[in-house]
């Protein structure tokens, strides 16, 4: 009887610890993640990708930037997407500014991918910071672009852009978007 009692207490303690620790563990998974409720935004301005701890070639930064603009126009959910330096952005209400910095990349091998379709993955990690016009950080994440199976490294930039546009779509909303076709039931 005493053994059963001790076992019950132990199990209760273990279960309690497990449940209590779970949210903490989840919180540690994304140290840079700042979960916000959907922020209202009518336009986004995308700045040129910056070199951070690593310095990717110019063509890589340009590919990241151009893909980001294309994907943000398609999937970002913003009625207006402005380029770096566009003077028209100054008049846009609820403007969000996206700053991106390359913080890491892992060189893969296109040949290896073609031959094995398993090895040779290229990945590029970019820090994305969404701010308002006053510089207040609204959302910050590290996003990884990958090319795993077939294709050149350009696909890693495309993958990054798609993920970033999706992230923006989930975290920012505009009046136009809410009244759009997507939300009609």
């Amino acid at each position: 009887m005493k053994i059963i009692k001790t076992a019950t207490i132990l199990l209760t303690l273990i279960a309690g610890l497990g449940l209590g620790a779970a949210p903490l563990l989840c919180a540690q998974e994304h140290p840079l993640a700042k979960v916000n409720a959907t922020v209202k935004a009518s336009a986004i301005q995308i700045e040129m990708v910056q070199a951070g701890e690593v310095s990717p070639p110019a063509e890589f930064r340009v590919a990241l930037y151009e893909n980001l603009i294309q994907e943000m126009q398609k999937e970002g959910g913003f009625p207006k997407v402005f380029r770096d330096g566009d003077r028209n952005a100054a008049d846009a209400p609820n403007l969000v500014i996206l700053r991106t910095t390359v913080i890491g990349f892992k060189q893969g091998s296109e040949l290896k991918r073609d031959v094995t379709t398993v090895g040779g993955a290229t990945s590029i990690t970019v820090r994305c910071q969404f701010t308002d016009t006053e510089g207040k950080v609204l959302l910050e994440r590290n996003i990884e672009g990958r090319v795993r199976l077939i294709g050149d490294n350009l696909k890693a930039t495309d993958d990054f852009a798609k993920k970033t546009a999706k992230l923006a779509n989930e975290n920012f909303s505009s009046d136009d978007k809410n009244s759009g076709y997507k939300n009609v039931i």
Binding site: M48, P57, A58, E59, R61, V62, G104, E110
Partner: protein, 177 residues
């Protein structure tokens, strides 16, 4: 005496002709180069084949469905793949090889058997655009030189010391402005 004078005159004529020919060859307008527009030009799909020409102060990309012109003076940076490799392989490359994620080795965007040229230019509203072209090996440097001659700018001069990193080069560029 007369024969000697004639010889000298003939020599000088030949010399001046040789000079004229070499100058005209150097100034010859660059012919069209077959390229692939990888990404960036407004209204042009990714990986569109066409021809690239630099003339009358602009970069002209002609493809099956039309053409796209960029004023050379609006190009604030033109770099070749070779420039990028030198920049990454220089000081910055050495430092970044120590960085996490295995960063630092030159990350090539595409297959290496092609020349690459990357331009960054501003539209009339000040918006920054980037465009990437690939072409047969050896053509990118010629196009870059033609663009620079017509008013484009670069952050990496072709004859620049390869140990200077892009940060130093962009600082130098800022000082020039």
């Amino acid at each position: 005496m007369i024969i000697r004078f004639e010889r000298i005159a003939l020599l000088s004529v030949l010399l001046s002709l040789g000079t004229l020919i070499s100058v005209s060859q150097a100034q010859q307008a660059p012919s069209e180069t077959e390229v692939v527009q990888v990404i960036g030009l407004t209204g042009v799909k990714q990986n569109t084949k066409g021809s690239l020409k630099v003339e009358n102060g602009s970069l002209s990309f002609v493809y099956s469905k039309g053409n796209c012109n960029v004023l050379a003076a609006s190009i604030q940076d033109v770099v070749t793949g070779r420039d990028s490799q030198r920049a990454v392989g220089g000081t910055v490359g050495t430092i970044s090889r120590l960085a996490p994620y295995g960063g630092g080795t030159a990350l090539s965007l595409l297959r290496t058997k092609l020349d690459i040229i990357t331009i960054q230019y501003r539209d009339p509203n000040g918006g920054l655009h980037g465009a990437i072209f690939t072409m047969p090996v050896g053509k990118a440097e010629l196009i870059k030189e033609s663009l620079l001659a017509q008013g484009a700018h670069t952050s990496i001069a072709s004859n620049e010391d390869s140990t200077a990193g892009p940060t130093q080069q962009s600082e130098a560029k800022e000082q020039q402005r």
